[in-house]
Assembly symmetry: C2
């Protein structure tokens, strides 16, 4: 409980201070000699000058005849000039220009005549079709200055100029040391409390993209002595040391104290979120980074801090962030204490880029994998309002984002299956999806923030699905429904149904812990309807307030024993081999703006909905009825 | 002379036809299983689903105490709740949530009390600071669809979800077979007519960037039988075959006929320039490419054709071309027969991107290495006028282009040395230079197409350098001169001066072959002045009309015996160990728009001009006098 507070240095300042501290202790790059043929993508450590001319001799630039241009003087269509056999020489491209000749006439323009003579119908100019010595590169010319990143054409220019090897910046090697008593190696069935190590794989892949090798050391338990010896070894063997986790100031956080024993601590704590507990320092001239153990925090720290510092060792220039103006779909609140990084889904709707903020949890690495971009909220801002124009740093190829259909709303695995079908097509196309529930879909379409939205909205008055909601929220029309599937909703319960649940009334039992879906989701609306129909009250249901965002999350909670029952679709229960008590059949359809029906991405989505391929995939998921998927219902 | 004409298929059509021909013979990708940790940058061959939840247990998300939230009910600043020792458990981040607990209170909010009890000043909400099972990823959820390129965070998401290996698209291997009797291996002193092979290195580097391995085969001489056997072997061993050179229809061009013997020819000749003579076909289902031997033609064909076809084997989506609006500085003429690719220098001047067309020779690989972008002139266009707005595909990082100073005009090696000094500085900055002669510099500055221009313009009336030209062409002012160097101009002649040249008059001797500089260059103006001074006439000088663009090109021609004398600077003669007959001292300065003097890139260039480092470098080049380099002379 003797919690030690971290400093809260602004990120740019921390990086600047750290880099100057490193420079003052002599942290710098190493060089090595590399064969030019193997140098593509490397950084030249010095300026490179041509060692010979290219071409190194006067060369014929065409297949044809070489001759002295003066003897063709006056040749024209009407009065060709005849060149005798001993006055010209047949040459091929690349041949040295024969002695006494000063031009080449290309073979297409040479007309055969008698006794080996040829005729020309146009005069040749001196030095035409001849590559002069040094036409490409002259000996002594600088081909590239220092610290140029070698490209394929630079490889060619260097080789053409006789530079067969060159001094390059040696790729540095960073040590990666995972730590933590709970961290284990990869296993297929980890026990509760065991966390299979994977941060090292993420960081190693990032380093690779920045031109840095990595060496992953065995995981060190939370024992200061062991950490000290692992760090000392790594600092001797590598050009930089990265320690994962233990970088905060808690009971088992030893990174900063270990560093202080054998090196110098420069910064502890940076004003970013996620990613605050960072340790920056050095052991001799070897940079040292203590990175938080949550993967998202770690990725942000790698990107915002480690990447910049590594440039001291790689001599690569900053790769530009690709920032694009986008429309923020939801309000973001942020603390004045931190610069905050918010991952967003990115989609191109109505020729504008929309940024859909994603869940912020520091442990949600899948969010990074799905995110199309990142929005930064500066430290002196309390947040950004919905509908604001914000700069989003793209994490995906902009063309691919533009070529993706944006499907929001209630989530169903069929969206992922359609996405896979579209990616496997001849002209791959992406699906950007976000899970905001059925009512979220209605709102997103009203704001023009998505192409289509998955909905399963029950009109509790009429028992009708989707159409009445569409009419109510779009009283002036302008929307249509694309038929999806009919799917079975029911209670997901533990395997063998040990608590003997049989109908909706049973979830009010006091021995039952229920797990609910979030407000605005179609499943939540269905639950409320079923409770009402059965004269039940939400207060009667223990766990009514415990919300999950997907069917599989509900099933996962039940599967792990953290809840006893939840309303969800059959497919989710099947994945977890759970029991399922069917209660209801519902229509899961896609709401779409009529104007978007002409969008070729939407058309392709509809075509995939209609495909036999999807029908087969849904059959194997189970619990679906496909009537007329892809049929358009105008309202 | 039985020249066989090639077809002239439009490029896009040729690629389309070729791809459908390949599909019809079953050309496709292969797959293999890869450990997820090694999969960054590879392409997933199938959709990947989570094999377990992450986290797989209810985990504490903070260091603190775990307890049942209901017992904290009512706690507030004024009335804290005391929790007895047996009602809570100390937990660390990542610990499983203890049985019976449903929340974690973070350690900072826990206040020690007596006998192991603690006090809380705020009520805890159920499930706060707890990571629910599947918070990140739920078992069964699709993590990525097929053909997704794996990123570091996808590696993390896969590992978190227990996907330790996955099916990836196997990187294909392309065979590269160089051909030609004149082609030799790398040697330091090739003889005339020998061309050391380097195209294979360029193409191999390009393939590597597209995710394709390459295997370079020994060079095959122009013998159809040998080529046939090399191609057959390569088609058996690799996934694609690339034959370099011999792809046209000349005397020694066997590529297409060899292909027709063992495979199928699909396209011979594509309407692009450079790069027309292309052979496209297949041997069984193995794609076959015959690529022209000129490096620039080859690079264009690789980029415009091979890259697209390789995607059949790599399943990578088209990388977007980064196209930017730019201002064309010079007129481009183009043939209606071809789609033409023009390499350009790219610079950011006055917040606009300027495109400076470069020399077009198909052999000029150094041009590709220097080019900042490429402009495409479509087949149905005769060209583009100067000052037009054109889309330029960038070959360099846009940020780096924006961070470069643009220096045009007469070229002097000192510009390259300054460029190296700037690249070696703490904050590397590029110099984009183009060689258009002194008068070209004046014109470029008048059009706002460069920041500064190297000039050495002799006023033949007054003997004064540069100032009078600046005043004449900028009568309203607005320009300044930045002092460069005084440099020695003289006759460059063969080593030992075997022809005994001693003064300018000697270049009129009938046994002398002179080599001149291009019109508009300062050196050309000086020559004309010297001729005039000495009562000589250009007609008296054999070779007056033979133009080169740089001092080193003049020296190279003399060094190779292709010319006897040329006017140039001492440094050029020194590089080639030639004799030098000094004739004149001239001022080489930089003309700059007064408005650009405040530009930080120009300021940095000036600072480098003033540096001791540059002075040392010029000393070692020789022939320079540094008086006040970097001094600004206002006019």
């Amino acid at each position: 409980m003797n919690y030690k507070y971290l400093s809260n240095s602004p990120c740019e300042q921390a990086v600047k201070d750290f880099i100057s501290a490193l420079k003052s202790v002599g942290t710098t790059y190493k060089t090595e000699v590399t064969p030019t043929r193997q140098s593509n993508g490397l950084v030249a450590a010095s300026a490179q000058y041509a060692r010979r001319c290219s071409p190194h001799y006067c060369a014929c630039a065409m297949d044809g005849i070489a001759l002295k241009s003066s003897i063709t003087s006056g040749a024209s269509e009407s009065s060709p000039v005849t060149i005798k056999a001993h006055d010209y020489v047949f040459v091929d491209t690349g041949d040295p220009l024969p002695q006494g000749c000063d031009c080449v006439v290309m073979i297409e323009d040479v007309v055969e005549h008698t006794r080996g003579a040829v005729r020309l119908y146009a005069a040749a100019t001196p030095w035409s079709n001849v590559r002069q010595v040094g036409e490409d590169i002259c000996m002594g010319d600088m081909i590239i200055p220092s610290f140029t990143v070698i490209t394929p054409s630079i490889v060619g220019a260097l080789l053409a100029a006789g530079v067969y090897e060159l001094e390059t910046v040696k790729k540095p090697t960073a040590a990666i040391i995972p730590t933590g008593d709970e961290i284990i190696n990869e296993v297929s069935k980890p026990k509760p409390g065991e966390i299979p190590e994977f941060n090292s794989a993420i960081f190693s892949a990032m380093l690779d993209e920045w031109g840095v090798f990595s060496k992953i050391y065995p995981t060190v338990p939370d024992k200061p002595k062991l950490l000290l010896s692992a760090v000392s070894k790594a600092a001797r063997e590598c050009d930089a040391v990265i320690v994962i986790a233990g970088s905060s100031a808690g009971r088992d956080d030893y990174t900063s104290s270990v560093l202080e024993k054998i090196g110098k601590l420069v910064v502890h704590g940076v004003a970013i979120k996620p990613g605050k507990p960072v340790v920056l320092g050095h052991i001799g001239s070897v940079p040292f980074f203590g990175i938080p153990g949550y993967p998202v925090s770690g990725i942000i720290v790698m990107e915002e801090i480690v990447r910049h510092v590594m440039r001291l060792l790689t001599k690569r220039r900053a790769a530009p962030d690709f920032q694009v103006k986008s429309l923020l779909t939801r309000k973001i609140t942020s603390s004045l204490k931190y610069k905050e990084f918010i991952r967003c889904g990115a989609a191109s709707v109505d020729k504008k880029l929309v940024a859909v903020p994603m869940r912020r949890g520091a442990g949600i690495v899948s969010g990074f994998a799905k995110a199309g971009g990142i929005i930064t909220v500066s430290q002196n801002s309390e947040g950004i309002g919905a509908g604001s124009e914000v700069m989003m740093k793209l994490l995906k190829n902009y063309d691919e984002i533009k070529n993706s259909v944006c499907v929001t709303g209630s989530h169903d695995p069929l969206i992922d299956e359609v996405s896979d079908i579209l990616m496997r097509s001849d002209n791959p196309m992406g699906v950007v999806s976000s899970h905001v529930g059925s009512m979220g879909a209605v709102m997103a379409l009203r704001n023009g923030e998505a192409h289509m939205g998955g909905i399963h909205l029950l009109d509790t008055e009429t028992g009708e699905y989707n159409t009445s909601y569409a009419k109510r929220y779009f009283p002036d029309g302008g929307v249509a429904l694309i038929r999806g599937v009919v799917r079975r909703q029911g209670l997901i319960v533990a395997r063998g149904n040990p608590l003997d649940l049989n109908e909706i009334k049973d979830i009010a039992r006091t021995d039952i812990s229920y797990i609910n879906r979030q407000k605005g989701s179609g499943t939540r609306i269905l639950l409320d309807y079923l409770l009402d129909e059965n004269g039940m009250n939400p207060c009667d249901v223990r766990g009514y307030e415990r919300e999950e965002y997907t069917h599989t999350a509900v099933a996962a909670a039940i599967s792990s024993g953290n809840a006893d029952a939840g309303l969800g679709i059959f497919a989710a229960s099947k994945i977890y081999s759970l029991d399922f008590i069917p209660l209801w059949n519902e229509s899961y359809d896609f709401l779409v703006l009529s104007s978007a029906l002409e969008d070729k991405r939407v058309k392709r989505f509809i075509k995939a909905l209609q495909s036999e391929n999807l029908r087969k995939r849904l059959d194997s998921l189970g619990g679906y009825l496909c009537e007329q998927p892809g049929e358009i219902v105008f309202l």
